[in-house]
Assembly symmetry: none
């Protein structure tokens, strides 16, 4: 450690939450003093009216003041300002993570590149339990995006390749991470039982980020600390942390929360097992992947019934239409029927069960 960095480290407000504007607070920290930054900035969601679930209950959306910006220009100016301040406090071999959704992540990614950061990966947090699209007007918004970037092109950075391989059952960790959203006992509540913060992130996400790209003893800075998930995980993993938060109430909650987190022995570092994608294969994938063509005819195993495949993976017979299971059941007059074992298709005059194709896809998925 050089004298300069030693002095910088001594000046750091380690393991504390500072309340105030994160840009001013960062500018008050020594230059080049922080190993890793994790930032969960406002997403600028731009929600308009109210939204109700099909059961008429109201969705509690994010309508906080801190998420309202007048325009993209305003949001961009804010983003560039805090990224500039963040880059200054970062060590030359430091790195940054930023999380966002499609509302803001493209602005953030561009600003990162323009500020001189060098993107190392973009990572997709796939939610096991996202909120559905209640009106059926779009795809279920089932993921958020994280960007991992080094301080500059060619700079060194920390990446614990083997540790992440361990976390992923011995194979290279991919850029798509499947993790549940933060709920249950982990979700902080107010005394009246409401959620304490509208966008609390799961500790498992931070766990993976910190295990992947920091070392024990590293200083982790979070400029949008909220209720302190970054601090809680940093403490458990034996890292030092600094939290910046504008809202005194959130800061107070975070301090209390983190104080209750046990520092870990090396053992609990290995707890988060990766959840592998389940091998469910929708019949429609056989059509999408060209294993069956739209218009192709399926034949029942007993040879007595036929149905035609449609582009969306539904079947049509003379009398009925629906899924492979529904059409099979209707044709046989049964309450239910497993279409996978009922239908076959013809290749070179031979009848082949469609389940053969499903097994083919499953083999690809697990390969």
């Amino acid at each position: 450690m050089t004298q300069k960095t030693a002095q910088a480290a001594a000046d750091l407000p380690l393991d504390t939450v500072l309340v105030g504007d994160c840009i001013e607070l960062m500018n008050g920290l020594p230059e080049g003093s922080v190993d890793l930054i994790f930032a969960d900035p406002p997403y600028n969601l731009q929600l308009k009216g109210e939204l109700h679930r099909p059961d008429n209950s109201r969705v509690d959306g994010v309508d906080n003041d801190w998420d309202r910006f007048a325009s993209f220009e305003t949001y961009d100016a804010f983003t560039r300002a805090w990224l500039t301040a963040a880059r200054r406090v970062l060590k030359p071999d430091g790195a940054i993570w930023v999380i966002g959704s499609y509302h803001n992540i493209f602005r953030v990614g561009s600003a990162l590149q323009d500020s001189g950061f060098w993107i190392l990966n973009d990572v997709v947090w796939r939610k096991t339990n996202p909120m559905p699209n209640f009106r059926g007007k779009r795809l279920t918004n089932a993921h958020e995006t994280l960007i991992w970037a080094g301080k500059s092109d060619g700079a060194k950075y920390t990446f614990n390749y083997e540790a992440l391989k361990q976390l992923n059952d011995g194979v290279q960790m991919r850029s798509d991470w499947l993790l549940p959203i933060c709920n249950g006992g982990e979700r902080l509540k107010t005394e009246s039982g409401e959620k304490a913060h509208p966008t609390q992130k799961p500790e498992a996400l931070l766990h993976r980020v910190l295990v992947a790209t920091s070392k024990p003893g590293d200083v982790i800075l979070d400029p949008f600390f909220g209720t302190g998930t970054t601090g809680a995980v940093a403490r458990r993993l034996g890292r030092r942390w600094i939290g910046l938060e504008r809202d005194e109430a959130y800061a107070t909650l975070a301090r209390k929360r983190i104080a209750g987190v046990p520092r870990a022995d090396a053992e609990s570092l290995k707890t988060t097992a990766s959840r592998r994608a389940e091998p469910r294969v929708p019949f429609g994938q056989l059509v999408e992947r060209g294993l069956l063509a739209p218009g192709e005819v399926l034949v029942s195993l007993n040879g007595r019934r036929t149905a035609k495949v449609r582009a969306d993976g539904s079947l049509v017979s003379a009398e009925t239409r629906g899924s492979i299971h529904q059409v099979a059941a209707a044709l046989e007059g049964l309450p239910s029927c497993n279409g996978w074992t009922y239908w076959s298709f013809k290749r070179d005059g031979q009848a082949i069960p469609i389940d053969v194709l499903r097994q083919q896809i499953r083999a690809e998925m697990s390969a």
Copy 2:
């Protein structure tokens, strides 16, 4: 179809590949004439050497910061130029898809928003078989990102919700799609056995995009056509297509490839329809047709509320009167309520949902 759009359609070079600069070619197409655009623009930022400013002067590689800035600036200018041309040829209710990786997708997303497009979803293509990270210095780059955007905020767009739900085994399609990369027999090869195009996309990806956000007969434009995956899938799915490609060799390959693709029959192209598309049946018709008598009493599904049918198809309860929806909403204290699923009537002591009668009338109408 208005005269203007009819003329525009007549002027379109349907089902052909045009060779040349995609911006010039798009500017030669009629305004507001295309239903959907799928774009797979070049990712290559050419960051190492060969940097050119927007005026095509070569950047002198002395200052790293200037290099980086100049290259992003060049890429941004190119992106904004082709997006502007693309937006002009799009119908007001049209939409665009763009695919990219972390090298370029943040530039593209920001440019889309700045050009007036309205992002509807970002979609993650998760690769079952990505290329591993050989050096173990980063995460396996296992996904690419697609952005789906409407022409402007508030504009309509096509989304075949039920078809995608069908493709996903009966649950809402999510924003993360697991599909293999294009290889094997689908991957076009040169005569010497090398891959014909470096970034050929899998047909399954285009299948899902087109089934989700276009209708049979729609015009699909691909300004970076390459070897024509968009055209091949469009033809199979009964869509019209226009391909723009700078490289004559790719265009030739694409033409040959697409000519060999069989068209699916019209019946197989129909996808599972949404209930919204079914003909509207005014409640009064049930009374007119004698399925319900004036004075007959309806009961809510929870059994707690009743209302009486009047001759004009309105309801009266003790407290309020109006349509089946209005009375249900008022009685439940809700902002709105679907009366069709709220009310039932009695026959032989049994409660029968009034929606049964609506389905009866619809069946008669389609017979």
